[in-house]
């Protein structure tokens, strides 16, 4: 605490204030905070396994499996998005009769307005 240039009395106040703020933050946690918390927990777990920070000595296949995980999850998310968009484009509910009727009505309206003097 000396490094921060504050006295011990002030640092005690900081700790109490920080703890109180944290309690309030947890009781009214926003979705953003939830996601950030989840993402950072998963990120820490990934880092621990990939860089072997706890010397867990997992079998080599599992370590080989874990280290590309962030990129893998991104690619899977991209594939899912692409598949959803493709599927919904292919099964979109076209109404050809309604489209033709609408075009006829637009033509009729344009002619009517031209007659009444509107410049197109």
């Amino acid at each position: 605490m000396m490094l921060l240039g504050i006295s011990r009395h002030q640092s005690g106040f900081f700790n109490y204030n920080f703890a109180l703020h944290l309690c309030t933050v947890f009781s009214t946690m926003t979705k953003l905070l939830e996601w950030l918390l989840g993402a950072s927990l998963i990120g820490m777990a990934w880092g621990l396994v990939t860089f072997d920070l706890l010397d867990l000595q997992l079998p080599p296949q599992y370590r080989e499996l874990v280290w590309p995980m962030p990129v893998y999850l991104l690619v899977v998310f991209g594939c899912y998005s692409l598949a959803t968009v493709g599927y919904r484009v292919a099964t979109f509910n076209d109404c050809e009769d309604a489209a033709k009727e609408l075009q006829a009505q637009i033509k009729e309206a344009k002619e009517d307005l031209k007659k009444k003097g509107l410049k197109m």
């Binding site: 990129v71 690619v75 899977v76 598949a83 493709g86 599927y87």
Partner: protein, 83 residues
């Protein structure tokens, strides 16, 4: 149901993403548990490329998006007043 070109494009995207997902999943998740002298390994690049190739693809995508935005912004600039 959508017809003609819409259906073709839609199902094409769906098929492409499914095959990409299958290939990539086998590459990343299945291969570590397969013996290193199995013939299936000859159909896949070394493991480092499973991270490098999507990274390069993402960079190229960003390049395209940035270029597109730049071109459109450049085309829409007006001499003095930008509304």
């Amino acid at each position: 149901m959508a017809t003609g070109a819409d259906q073709a494009v839609g199902f094409g995207l769906l098929g492409f993403s499914l095959s990409l997902f299958t290939y990539y999943t086998i590459w990343v998740i299945v291969l570590p548990f397969v013996d290193s002298d199995h013939v299936i390994h000859s159909y896949f690049l070394p493991r480092e490329y499973s991270v490098i190739l999507p990274g390069v693809a993402a960079l190229i995508l960003l390049l395209f998006v940035g270029t597109f935005i730049g071109v459109v912004t450049w085309k829409n600039r007006k001499p003095k007043k930008v509304d």
